[in-house]
Subunit: 195 residues, 2 copies
Amino acid sequence: MTEAATVRRSRITPEREAELYTAVLDLLREVGYDALTMDAVAARTKSSKATLYRQWGGKAELVARAMGHQKRGHADVDTGSLRGDFYAMVTHSDDCQMEQNSALMRGLAMAIHGNPDLLRAFRELIIEPELAEMRRVLQRAVDRGEIRPDNPAMDYVVHMMIGGFAARTMIDELPPTQAYLTSYIDAVVLPALGA
Amino acid sequence: MTEAATVRRSRITPEREAELYTAVLDLLREVGYDALTMDAVAARTKSSKATLYRQWGGKAELVARAMGHQKRGHADVDTGSLRGDFYAMVTHSDDCQMEQNSALMRGLAMAIHGNPDLLRAFRELIIEPELAEMRRVLQRAVDRGEIRPDNPAMDYVVHMMIGGFAARTMIDELPPTQAYLTSYIDAVVLPALGA
């Protein structure tokens, strides 16, 4: 997040901000990224387009921030074990929300292809915070003595998790449910980490 | 592969078939799936469009078969160990080919979204053969006593591998080289399998 964006965004209340993000995600589900216009967001949220541009700079940042805000609903809490922390990461949304989000993410992955603004906003507001959270979770496990700090699988935890999500839809043609993700964590992620 | 398709395709020589597939992949790299036309394939390969449709049924099957043919270049050989078999799977293309293929696959993954014909052809001609090869590789490892037949990670090997490929581009913004993939196999896939 840039300093400028922080300052600009502080002018609206957190409640109003959350309301706006909900409307953006609703619209995104209804029409997809490409067909989403700032006019439609302004109409749905009864804001002026000038306000939207002043607060968020553009469609890409607004969408990435709306996605990021939704994920930030859960705090990164120390559950006391690596397994508990991983489980918390994949069970903070229920299966229905997870399926909606997974459809949204697929649609956005398409839009990112060939849209450098959206890619940049996504890296900054979605991917980097996820990577930072994963680093904290792993560091706690190292501190607890659950995993060795030099385990080479540490660099690949996000890769494994992305495979779990992406292949579930692509190969198994099933949604990534909580039951599936926790079984994937037990079968793949924890054994690879030697935990 | 359907019986009908086998019969139809048997009318052209393997050399001519390989030549056609090479031309299709070249065109695909040049213009992408959506802009690829049967007219362009016919012109490039000096075939009639009627012949192309008779032999392949349509663009989706022709493209999937061209991709599948290229992968089938390597035989599924028993190297004597699970690690050797996995290495063979990811080193049969050199890094330059791998980067080209990975760009092609990304483009096709976009096109598959919302194209049921292409999805069906892909499942039948690319994904199913890959899954079958993986099952043979794992069965050999079980027979050798390298992995336990009830290891729950067995069901997720393709998921792990897809994660390795997809996240390398998405998260690390690097191409999936042979060196990277073999290190991922050693750090993630083999330890998860307990091998």
